[in-house]
Amino acid sequence: SAQEAPRAAEMEDKVLSPEKAEEAKLKARYPHLGQKPGGSDFLRKRLQKGQKYFDSGDYNMAKAKMKNKQLPTAAPDKTEVTGDHIPTPQDLPQRKPSLVASKLAG
């Protein structure tokens, strides 16, 4: 019908552009993806790189109060330290400086 033809043409336009096709694919997989694409979410994540959860106040208070009790610690399989337990310095990924020389110099 006359109504369908223009809509079909519109659909065709969208499918033709590879970028728009990829966008449709993404939106199909993640329907709740933010409306502001390149904006604040990415940027804030970028600015927060390196942020780890560790509060020395919490840690010391917990140590003082709970001398006799077990400190709640992260489950062994958890790699992310979050706010629902008291992290210890041991929970933080150990970043030792490289004592080994670069293999490029080998």
Binding site: E22, L26, G38, L47, Q51, L92, P93, K103
Partner: protein, 467 residues
């Protein structure tokens, strides 16, 4: 103004642009020279090369890695006795530049990864370079020692102090030759000036100052002064909720010491003249470079792929080049409304953006570089491919850094990615590309046709074929 990928054989020998941009029209053939690094399949994260930089003469080549280490290679001088090792680079010095830190006050882990190395021009026998991680810039002095003093009065040859009463006569210590020792020592530490992560450093042509740029601010330093720096750009909004773009790269003009540029995550470049603002805050840019976008073609990915990952001035200072996710653009500093040249690096990835977003590859930051005469530009891609674009002839070449083609003086065979259904022999399909093999960092010798290509943990050196 998009140009299709592929060689333009229809216009050979087109007259080059005046002013240091003319180059030979003979196609450069690249030969394998050397490869540095381990061959193991298991790559330790610390060994991943994060920056590559030749010094001003090209005699020294520095690399930085994720483990905070710097390795400097020196070009062998041709001697009559060893003509075969023409132009080979061998290890000159290596040192630990940065170490991992934890900022307990901000709960922030500071990586030791070297983001950038920039050499200072040589002014005496020693060499100086700046290396930076996310937060701290360091000035390193690399000096040679080939003499040692012998015959001290107060200590004996192995350094132990002599009993004073045993010293019965006075002698003058003499200098004796010793095996060459190259020492690296940190001369300055420029710290505590960046809240956000440093992405660029650039030495000024006055050779006395340099800039450091993080996501939101750019600081100007004097090389002699570590306890003070001047903030010259600040794009931090009063309300962080209003943040829409970040600084991605910055560089000083090669000749005009008052001019620098910085690029953004939105694909724009601002040129700033430090003379123009009395308060020395360059928020009012002198020039604003942006290519107009067709609003109907805008998608979720548009802004992400327009983010500029690198900006480099040409040696002549007339042009600058920017790298975004899919292309390299050359801009004439006198034309702000569009680039003068655009080169597609891997346009076939446009139909893979969904997966590249999911595996984060879409955020990979590729660098780009000019050759000495500004006639050719180079940038990396995936599958250990890298691309060169000859500006005069529009000839583009895809090459691969691989162990297979690493025989001495072996000529590199051009590679081709198959974008249609029918794959020819020796072509590779887009789906077969290895997206873990990224060439993010490349460097071109300042005058000769020697290129350094960092492929994850290996450094490849290629040289122009000489008959």
């Amino acid at each position: 103004m998009l140009r299709a990928a592929g060689p333009w054989r229809g216009c050979p020998g087109r007259a080059g642009v005046a002013g240091g941009d003319g180059g030979g029209n003979n196609e450069v053939q690249w030969c394998f020279l050397q490869v540095k690094g381990a061959i193991d399949e298991d790559v330790a994260e610390a060994d991943i090369i994060s920056t590559v930089e030749f010094n001003y003469t090209g005699d020294l080549l520095a690399t930085g890695d994720k483990g905070g280490r710097v390795v400097i290679f020196q070009r062998e001088q041709e001697t009559k006795s060893r003509p075969v090792s023409r132009g080979e680079y061998n290890v000159y010095s290596t040192f630990q530049s940065h170490e991992p830190e934890f900022d307990y006050l901000k709960s922030l882990e500071i990586e030791e990864k070297i983001n950038k190395i920039r050499w200072l021009p040589q002014q005496n026998a020693a060499h100086f370079l700046l290396s930076t991680n996310d937060k701290t810039i360091k000035l390193w002095k690399i000096s040679e020692r080939d003499k040692r003093a012998e015959g001290y009065n107060l200590k004996d040859e192995d350094g132990r102090l002599r009993e004073p009463f045993r010293v019965t006569e006075l002698r003058v210590p003499t200098l004796k030759p010793m095996d060459l020792m190259v020492e690296a020592s940190p001369r300055r530490t420029f710290a505590n000036a960046h809240t956000y992560h440093i992405n660029s450093i650039s030495v000024n042509s006055d050779y006395a100052t340099y800039l450091s740029a993080d996501d939101l601010r750019i600081n100007l330093w004097h090389l002699e002064v570590t306890n003070r720096s001047f903030n010259i750009v600040d794009i931090k909004p009063a309300n962080m909720e209003e943040l829409t773009e970040v600084i991605t790269a910055a560089e000083f003009h090669p000749h005009q010491c008052n001019v620098f540029v910085y690029s953004s995550s939105k694909g724009t470049i601002r040129l700033c003249d430090m003379r123009s603002s009395a308060l020395s805050l360059c928020d009012q840019h002198s020039k604003f470079f942006e290519e107009p976008e067709d609003p109907s073609s805008r998608s979720f990915f548009s802004e992400i792929i327009s983010s500029i990952s690198d900006v480099k001035f040409s040696h002549s200072g007339r042009y600058m080049m920017t790298r975004d996710y899919l292309s390299v653009k050359v801009w004439d500093l006198n034309m702000e409304n569009r680039p003068v040249e655009t080169y597609q690096v891997h346009e076939y990835l446009r139909s893979k953006l969904c997966s590249l977003y999911e595996n984060d590859c879409i955020f990979d930051k590729f660098e780009c570089c000019w050759n000495g005469s500004d006639s050719t530009i180079m940038t990396g891609s995936y599958n250990n491919f890298f691309r060169t674009f000859e500006r005069n002839t529009h000839r583009d070449t895809t090459l691969e850094a691989s162990r297979e083609s690493s025989k001495p003086r072996a000529i590199l065979k051009p590679r081709k990615v198959c974008t249609t259904g029918k794959r020819k022999k020796d072509e590779i399909t887009v789906d077969s590309l290895d997206f873990n093999k990224k060439i993010l960092h490349t460097a071109w010798h300042p005058t000769d046709n020697i290129i350094a290509v960092a492929a994850t943990n290996n450094l490849y050196l290629f040289q122009e074929k000489v008959n």
